[in-house]
Symmetry: C2
Subunit: 222 residues, 2 copies
């Protein structure tokens, strides 16, 4: 039985709502760090359960559609991909929680230095998450490819941040504790971008019916 248009719309709607919450968590976690707002950090941690609820609901809806509709072909791939995507979204939110936990620790210490590259990484990573989900619901493989290409920018910024932190620690050992915590934040953002890339790779696979997630970007023809 084909999955009805309104059922797919409902599923997409839930995914978009979940992605919206995840985007907010990413933005607020970094804001809690850059603006030294521990109240906001606690809010991100406390509200993570809302995102977990979406994860469970989307999973259950996908199982329901698979059981009742027994979809084939395109619908089948769409639904199984949705089940995988929701796992990635949930783990992205976990990384935002981790960032908030580091913010709580760092906000108690004197500021090491103003954050410049971290907000830039946040902006790119968050945009990748939004576009990866948009690419999924619109089955837009060009947008998905664009997300995949942006991953290098985040990796490069992460390298820059880590090198700078290593330099600071070498110059002044009293900075080690803070510099290590900031390096984790950078790593969490890099991981968020990785999850967005994973989602985008699944979208390209779904649309093209070809698994690209183990190919180098230059091997992939759009």
């Amino acid at each position: 039985m084909p999955v009805r248009e309104d059922e797919l719309k409902h599923l997409n709607g839930m995914l978009l709502q979940m992605a919206g919450l995840v985007e907010t968590s990413i933005r607020e976690s970094i804001k809690s760090l850059t603006e030294r707002n521990s109240e906001l950090a606690r809010k991100v941690i406390e509200e993570d359960h809302k995102i977990n609820t979406y994860d469970v609901r989307i999973d259950e809806e996908c199982i329901r559609l698979l059981a009742l509709k027994q979809p084939m072909g395109k619908d089948l791939r769409f639904i199984t991909t949705a089940m995988k995507i929701t796992t990635d979204l949930e783990r992205i939110a976990d990384n935002a929680v981790n960032i908030s936990e580091r913010a709580l620790e760092l906000n108690k210490e004197p500021l090491l230095k103003p954050y410049i590259d971290i907000p830039r990484m946040r902006e790119i990573a968050q945009g990748m998450v939004r576009d990866a989900i948009d690419a999924f619901v619109n089955e837009d493989k060009r947008l998905a490819m664009d997300v995949i290409m942006r991953d290098d920018e985040v990796d490069d910024l992460n390298d820059i941040v880590l090198k700078e932190l290593m330099f600071i620690m070498t110059q002044d050992p009293s900075t080690v504790y803070r510099a290590m915590k900031i390096s984790y934040v950078s790593k969490y953002l890099e991981r968020i971008a990785d999850h967005a890339t994973n989602i985008a790779e699944m979208v390209v696979y779904m649309v093209k019916g070809k698994i690209i997630r183990h190919m180098a970007p230059r091997e992939i023809e759009i």
Copy 2:
């Protein structure tokens, strides 16, 4: 149409083979570090494509079973869980590749100190991966719960390693580069244990039909 016994056996067989390769990658990645064997580190990196091949094959087999058999109930949950588990296994292998990359870098530098807690973390994390997959194929929720409980041990060891490294860096800034690289290795092992925990949570969910992945361990009744 029910999925035949031999089809489930075939699927389980592929998962067990994939998990075996992943276990080897974890063990060899840490061995390449502790025994300063860069040849072995390169082997882990080069052979990762074999694990990726399993990821694709298992995914395709699951899609095939869903399309042809249109399974319901238990079989449906088993197959959709297998699709999610293969993603986690593939990412565990990525972490072993990351460890090997750090080993290649660290093996060029003088030894900072003998590795004591890292091999212990490797042993626990690798055991968690093996048991999580065994719990899945045998639908053994007690073993799955046992895996979930062990995650704290790895987290605690990771904290000990990081604290020790911070102390070393503070005492001697010339150690910063190496200490940072070792801290990543510790983080990668922690992440491997997290993936094993995620798999185990999915197994408990599948067996009990109850989502526990957002519950604290003490809330879960076996």
